[in-house]
């Protein structure tokens, strides 16, 4: 069973008599520790696909199964806990220090303010943004915003991160280190599904998919070796 299974998902948007199909019969499997990128032009359906995969939007057809549970039928939302999602960049609501925003997820889970703040600072160190903890959010540049956004998602130890265009708005020289960070997170076991608007956003990923007109192409399932357990010998000679 895959960590995430998007199964024959279709999503339509209607405006009056007009209808646009954003995602067409898309299927996709993601395993733990995989780094998967979806390349697509604007209005290709890439962001819609990611929102559906994260359970933010419900498909009209098909289903999304995360850790064995249908996201549409789950009573308790996994979003923000087992599954982290962020859009292009981190946007803080209201004022406050960066470390407080990062720790907010833990405070919501009734951690003590002291522990939440300590964990927040640890995560900022993990994502290479330890110098940002004492700054206001509006003081961050593009790369710092992206790193802080990732730290905010990691605070609840999710098994899957869904990130819409992580390198958008990030300086060119800062993009590869950011992608290396996502690679390292995947290497530690947290799967990452992200979208990319350029070739750079695809470098080093495990699978590079493309989406156009809502149709997803590429290796839609990971290439894994199926381990067949050895059968116990049936003759009594080997039994004790």
């Amino acid at each position: 069973m895959s960590l995430l299974s998007v199964e024959h998902v279709t999503k339509r948007y209607r405006r009056g008599r007009l209808e646009r199909i954003a995602v067409r019969d898309v299927s996709l499997d993601i395993e733990s520790g995989e780094l998967v990128a979806v390349w697509g032009a604007r209005r290709s359906g890439r962001s819609t696909l990611l929102r559906i995969a994260a359970g933010i939007e419900r498909p009209e057809e098909g289903r999304v199964v995360f850790e064995g549970r249908d996201l549409a039928r789950s009573r308790n939302s996994v979003l923000g806990r087992r599954l982290g999602y962020c859009q292009t960049c981190f946007s803080a609501a209201g004022r406050g220090l960066v470390v407080e925003h990062v720790a907010a997820g833990l405070l919501a889970q009734r951690a003590s303010p002291k522990d939440a703040r300590r964990r927040g600072q640890e995560l900022l160190l993990r994502v290479g943004a330890e110098h940002c903890g004492g700054l206001e959010c509006h003081e961050l540049d593009g790369a710092e915003l992206a790193r802080v956004a990732i730290a905010t998602m990691l605070v609840t130890s999710p098994t899957l991160l869904v990130i819409d265009e992580p390198s958008s708005g990030v300086e060119l020289l800062e993009r590869d280190p950011l992608l290396a960070l996502l690679r390292s997170i995947a290497n530690e076991g947290t799967a990452v599904l992200m979208s990319a608007g350029d070739a750079q956003g695809l470098s080093g990923v495990d699978r590079a998919l493309s989406i156009d007109n809502g149709e997803l192409r590429g290796e839609l399932a990971p290439v894994t070796a199926h381990v067949v357990p050895l059968r116990r010998a049936e003759s009594g000679a080997h039994r004790r």
């Binding site: 990128a37 390349w39 032009a41 590869d176 290396a180 350029d198 070739a199 750079q200 695809l202 470098s203 080093g204 990923v205 699978r207 590079a208 998919l209 493309s210 156009d212 007109n213 192409r217 590429g218 290439v223």
Partner: protein
């Protein structure tokens, strides 16, 4: 770029994808011409001369050899001149050839790969594309394959990591990074072209279907 399955087939000795036959540019050009229009060998030779004469200077024997190779690979097939194939009658005597479905798929796959790997031959490839991809649907299929080739190549373009142990190594790493960046930007341009080409092709398809509906 061959998919793993294709590589396995080739390693096993049976080239079920026809990729071995498409190692020759002449064979590729001939396949494109057969896809464009089922023809006799003689007529294919004439069209080859008109279309590719300025790029590939080969004799008629090479054309017939290419036809034989393509038949053996199952990419084209011989048909009777009396069958309903659209083969022009009255041409000089000889077998008539038409492409198989596998041949059409192999050709599009070959085109997508070559366009990526051989950007300096755009003129030649443009002529081949015109010969073998002659419907909007086929062109969109070709573009989808081309796109996947591009994103696969972009995936492989990971920058070297780690600190340089010396100034000399630092420079060489920088040069490598710059070369990777150059290739990435070329891929971005290719992907931008793909987006543009799709929009153009779809608008043509919409105009065509609208015209059909009004008739």
């Amino acid at each position: 770029m061959a998919v793993p399955g294709e590589q396995l087939l080739e390693q096993g000795g049976a080239d079920l994808t026809g990729s071995a036959a498409l190692r020759s540019q002449v064979a590729c050009a001939v396949l494109g011409l057969v896809i464009e229009k089922p023809s006799h060998g003689y007529e294919i030779g004439q069209r080859f001369e008109r279309r590719f004469g300025g790029f590939l200077r080969v004799g008629r024997s090479s054309i017939y050899a290419a036809l034989g190779t393509l038949v053996d690979a199952g990419l084209i097939e011989k048909v009777s001149a009396r069958s309903n194939t659209g083969v022009s009658q009255g041409a000089k005597a000889g077998a008539c050839y038409r492409a198989t479905a596998r041949g059409a798929r192999a050709y599009r796959g070959w085109l997508a790969e070559r366009v990526r790997n051989d950007p300096q031959r755009v003129d030649m490839l443009g002529r081949m594309t015109l010969a073998g991809v002659h419907s909007v649907e086929a062109a969109l299929d070709f573009i989808a394959r081309y796109e996947q080739e591009c994103v696969d190549e972009a995936r492989e373009l990971a920058r070297p990591s780690g600190s340089a142990p010396s100034d000399c190594a630092g420079i060489s790493e920088l040069v490598e990074r710059l070369l990777i960046e150059e290739r990435r930007r070329m891929i971005d341009a290719q992907l931008a072209w793909i987006t543009y080409a799709r929009a153009e092709l779809r608008s043509v398809a919409v105009e065509s279907s609208t015209a059909d509906a009004q008739r």
